[in-house]
């Protein structure tokens, strides 16, 4: 089957940003669907590390989204945000707040997802803009910790959230 095993590419364009890029073997209207329909998001966003309990999406400017996922060892992680820009099949701008830290909304990132299609394949880029370098670094670091520890400190919580 045409399921590719290519990896996402992650770069750090500035001190506050993370840029994630990945190509998919599908036209962009399908990638956009899979990205914005709750029943579809529930099938991939957990990254095989648990189950998604909640995927609420109110896809319009000012509309809110919320994802809650439960890891296999019962740890619950939740994210929410607000859509700032919605261009179907092309572009999605939204905030993303991790509910496991104090004052999630003040520490939220601004995420811009761009969908471009060429020859039936879609390149998805996600630009994550954090309010500070410290928060940007904490996000990256949590990805690094994923799967290594079980402690309940803040770093660990963020780590689990990235599973």
């Amino acid at each position: 089957m045409a399921v590719s095993s290519q990896t996402a590419t992650v770069t750090l364009p500035t001190d506050e940003q993370i840029l994630i890029t990945r190509e998919f073997d599908a036209p962009r209207h399908l990638v956009f669907q899979a990205y914005t329909k709750p029943e579809l998001v529930k099938r991939w966003w957990h990254a095989n590390r648990g189950e998604m309990k909640v995927a609420e999406i109110d896809l319009r400017i000012g509309g809110e989204w919320r994802y809650v996922s439960v890891t296999d060892d019962g740890f619950e992680v939740a994210f929410h945000g607000e859509y700032r820009e919605v261009v179907p099949n092309e572009r999605l701008v939204s905030t993303e707040a991790y509910e496991g830290i104090p004052d999630p909304d003040a520490n939220a990132t601004l995420n811009t997802a761009t969908f471009t299609e060429k020859d039936g394949r879609t390149t998805l880029t996600i630009l994550v803009e954090a309010p500070s370098k410290a928060i940007r670094d904490a996000i990256i670091e949590s990805g690094m910790e994923a799967g290594l520890q079980d402690a309940l400190d803040l770093l660990e919580q963020t780590a689990v959230s990235l599973r």
Partner: protein, 116 residues
Amino acid sequence: MARAATTTDAFNAVAEPRRRQILDALAGGERPVNDLVRELGLAQPQVSKHLRVLREVGAVDVREEGRQRLYRLNGRALKPIHDWVKAYERSWSERFEQLDVVLEELKQKEARDGGE
């Protein structure tokens, strides 16, 4: 171990935007310091100071050629940064592999339904 000083840690060395600019410039090939001075629009002592920090963490090598000192990038010294980002990349890759499966199904469904 205590926190590494600026001059011994690749992360600290690239935390300075000007130093990243120098690395970007050197990614295109070996350059004399005057070139870098021109490109960055900084005074030479400042550029030299940044180059010294980069050299101390091994991110930049230097050699003499005639009266010139030529600087070049040594990517291996930046590997810790690469590794750091790599783990985050892995979690997204896993997520996207699931998305591949969903997309394959959507494609097949669309083909069955006779396209759009």
